[in-house]
Symmetry: C2
Subunit: 205 residues, 2 copies
């Protein structure tokens, strides 16, 4: 499977590209925003293309040529301001969905956030971010694409344990980004994951 990773310069995106690239059955296309971000991938022999989530649907669709699936791992990041939250995490995600449709790609895996589906669990200081993810997820569920929505808990840079809990309503918890990347790969390669949305946190030890 040839998978376009949107947000390949992000911490989850980087790990997902590596996983795909090191898996003989798969191929990654690393989508990044700046030319300077392409070199690291080219040096590793990973195909890379330029995209801008604040640009047009048409340029996104071009970047999806020849791809079998899309993993949306991009995030505006907590520090970039809520204008970017609206324009990247929400509108950028929906433009990516529209581009997938324009390019004839069905499979779409989304990195969302723990309990983004449930307003009662949105932390006060992160409410705008949760709202953006919430409405992006809603758009995806109604897009007609073959979607999976992965809602990780608080992300850490710890080494992955390979052990996660998955469920519709999990308690708050942490999860290493490395484990999230493995879950995304699992969603792409496991039958029966289409049309599923779930929280994921590290398994209780």
């Amino acid at each position: 499977m040839r998978v376009a990773v949107v947000g390949a310069n992000g911490k989850i995106g980087q790990q997902l590209v590596e996983l795909l690239h090191n898996d003989a059955e798969h191929e990654a296309v690393a989508l990044v925003r700046k030319e300077a971000q392409q070199k690291q991938w080219q040096d590793k022999g990973v195909e890379t293309r330029l995209t801008d989530l604040e640009g047009s649907v048409a340029q996104l669709a071009d970047a999806f040529a020849g791809v079998d699936a899309i993993a949306f791992t991009a995030g505006s990041g907590g520090n970039s301001g809520d204008d970017k939250t609206l324009l990247v995490d929400l509108d950028g995600a929906v433009k990516t969905m529209e581009a997938a449709q324009a390019a004839g790609i069905k499979r779409f895996v989304m990195v969302s956030a723990w309990q983004a589906n449930n307003r009662e669990n949105w932390a006060d200081e992160l409410k705008p971010y949760y709202a953006a993810k919430h409405y992006a997820d809603r758009e995806l569920m109604r897009s007609g694409l073959e979607w999976t929505i992965v809602r990780p808990g608080a992300l850490t840079d710890d080494k992955g344990s390979g052990r996660v809990d998955i469920g519709e309503h999990l308690p708050a918890g942490k999860i290493p980004r490395e484990d999230v990347a493995h879950v995304l790969l699992g969603c792409l390669t496991t039958d029966g994951m289409v049309g599923k949305a779930f929280d994921v946190i590290s398994a209780y030890e």
Copy 2:
């Protein structure tokens, strides 16, 4: 018809409440956020209730008891920051839709923005606002409510002319808020306006 005006303290909301209150066939319920905003309406004999678009769906549904229709005229305002754009213009609007459903109210008229349906026409500095309106409108169209979406051009405080152009794709233009309030009343009281979304600007003289 008994119409709850969400955002009754706003410039369009105030005018719509006045129009409804002065029309023998209708009644306004002025929904405001702060107690201090209630007195002006009480002094005029207008029923007023407290609501918070950043609060729960349940308190919004309570405020809609006994109402026949909802006019959403609230806006975070350009100066309040894009966190409020996400939480008021988008999530607040969708919570209002959910509250309408919970309260069994069908009719819902939304004040949107000129060409909010069309990314190509979003002015750069207002993009987050347009995105919020865009996704609120999309949610409304899929809500099952009996919706009308009014997308006014650049709002002015000029006296209304009573003459407006309405259409699916109008050129950029201005419109006095007074005229927008009249259009909203017209939408509520004219057959055939359910399921319609349109731009509205002052008529070319």
